[in-house]
Amino acid sequence: MSTRITIDPITRIEGHLRVDAEITGGKVTRAWSSGQMWRGVELILLGRDPRDAWTITQRICGVCTTVHAIASVRAVENALQLEVPRNAQFIRNMIVAAHAIHDHIVHFYHLSALDFVDVVSALKADPVKAAAWIELYSDWPLNGKEVMKQTQERLKTFVGSGQLGPFTNGYWGHPAMKLTPEINLVAVAHYLQALDVQRQANKIVTILGSKTPHIQNLAVGGVSNPIAVDSQSVLTVDRLMAIKTQIDKLADFVNKVYLIDVAAVGSVYADWTGYGAGVMNYLSAPDFPIDTKGTEFMYPGGYIPGGDLAKYQPIKSFGDDFLGKGVEESVKHSWYSYSKAGALHPYKGETTPQYTDFQDEGKYSWLKAPTFYGKRAQVGPLASVLSAVAAGHQPTIGIVNKLLETVSALAGTKIGVSALHSTIGRHAARAVRCAVMVDLLQANWQKLIDNIAEGDFATYNKPVFPKGEVMGFGFHEAPRGLLSHWIVIRDGKIANYQCVVPSTWNAGPRSEDDAPGPYEASLVDNPVADPEKPLEVLRTIHSFDPCIACAVHVHDQDTRQAVRVRAL
């Protein structure tokens, strides 16, 4: 007998997402991923000034504000063939890196660690043993027994107060929870410390972007941060030095805590390297441009078909045809209709809603299904890190190797790169990417300082809109993966606008040829010990970083009666 479960989040953080899974014999046999909210921002943009698009697109999502702003200005710049001063590239790069670091840390510690960490079990830990264990692997100063004792006390008080908040409906004591009480305690200590650390990253975004959550400093053609070595109220040497202090603190945490924790979780849950691979065509974009035209990047990106790194094909510049011509979106299984048959390129994209009910074999999602030269592709830190490894990016290769060595030592068995094609591998790749981001943040800070020292204070080139039609696309390798905005401009006004977002690539429904998307494919064969507590399904979905809290309805397939369970 099979059971059908429906996980239907309530949050609007990134639009509602619902996941249905059919479970037979303790395993997922089929899955459906469904976007539950119509994202019609494209229609709001029609007829508007392209220079305003970024302020509107950064409201699409509560977590990814900055990334939509960046992709939007890049799309308009690409359409106009507008160059961007190097200072502006460096400032944008620093915002992008700081945002990514913040996002990756929050995702691991605050949004998904609880899939693996049993908070209540930490109450039973011996704080001295916990400290002794972690100090074997890391010299982070906040790993001592006093810190572990304080953490346990704080947790006791919190649990005792009866207001468990986000922990209330955690799957404590679930049979799939395997960390020792001591490792759980270490993880809780780091969970608390991560909060302070992500604040440091956020401060960098605030200093450079003028405000958060919605940055104010972008402009089509550059940034609006005037640079002056001695003036108040603009980007001064003092402010830049303040940023440097924050960067150093971040580096310590990422290298001495985050990477170690991921290795520890990965070693205990090594079986999860065998689940969740799903779609193994990986697509990512290069990012961190350092020239005015966007032809030189500090981090590579491209396409890896079938998980074969030897077949990696790079994307080389803003406007690269390989990416530009390869993307299409299908609505065969989405609640939209197109005016003609088949998938459409984003420049020709249409946003005409056609809602049916949830049809397993028909339409069932507000997300479209993107493809790359007709194939489904997985995006995200794993795609980005694998591309960097394939491209021979030495800093990434070094961090990946070090992480795998730590995991192998902890697990007592050799774990290789192929383990990355998995649920736990996505977490590992995110930690690696986070460490790379710290390096890139540092490097761009230095480039900005050096460039200013050479007397270049330029941060902005004025855009000029021609009569007639121009089109372009902007890409950004966002924390959740490849993001692209596509714009058609007619007589200086927006004539078409389409956002192809990371969650569309990963969470999209079946495509034109009924091929399942990455979420759907990754769930197949996942074990599920208890359909009423589908922790394992959440583990795989959360590994993609959907940034959602969710409610779970458990349907009995015969009666279709829903039992509601809240999941984290």
Partner: protein, 165 residues
């Protein structure tokens, strides 16, 4: 005394963004003293955690669905707010309730939390709230100012904006 006025909501979805419009309007109409921080939080409550932490008063402006007339104002404080989060009337409370719980775990909760909200008419696509909600905007802004005044933070109108905006 440190107060944070946090507007939450999605301004792309008409009345959903009323909380954001309210705090922006508050900041436009009044001189904001140094003890008061006004934040357009959008739907990014987590990003605001740092600034909410340890405040004496957290004043939230939001759209609240409680089945009343469009534009009806709602005030919830402390105990009532817990119930509000349990029954999930606003789309943003997952983010907000998580933020508040995280602050509690760290022992840095705001001393008091008050929510002032307005009943939406439409959550449809659009940058402008519906006329019903726009008409109530001054009242909502007034309610926010009154909450601050009750906490001893009297805001002076700056004279730059008139009531109809």
């Amino acid at each position: 005394m440190r107060a944070v006025v946090l507007g939450v909501g999605n301004i792309l979805l008409s009345d959903e963004g009323i909380g954001v419009h309210a705090v922006n309007s508050l900041a436009a109409r009044y001189s904001i003293p140094a003890e008061v921080e006004v934040i357009d939080g959008g739907t990014s409550a987590m990003d605001c955690l740092d600034r909410i932490a340890g405040s004496d008063l957290l004043l939230i402006a939001d759209c609240v669905r409680s089945g009343r007339e469009p534009g009806a104002l709602v005030r919830l404080a402390d105990g009532d707010l817990q119930a509000f989060f349990r029954t999930r009337i606003s789309p943003h409370q997952v983010g907000l309730s998580d933020v508040l719980a995280t602050l509690a775990l760290h022992g840095i909760s705001p001393a008091r939390t008050v929510l002032v909200g307005a009943e939406p008419k439409s959550l449809g696509l659009g940058l402008e709230p519906t006329p019903e909600l726009l008409a109530q905007l001054p009242a909502l802004v007034g309610a926010l100012a009154a909450e601050l005044a009750a906490a001893g933070l009297r805001l002076e109108p700056n004279g730059f904006c008139n009531a109809a905006e």
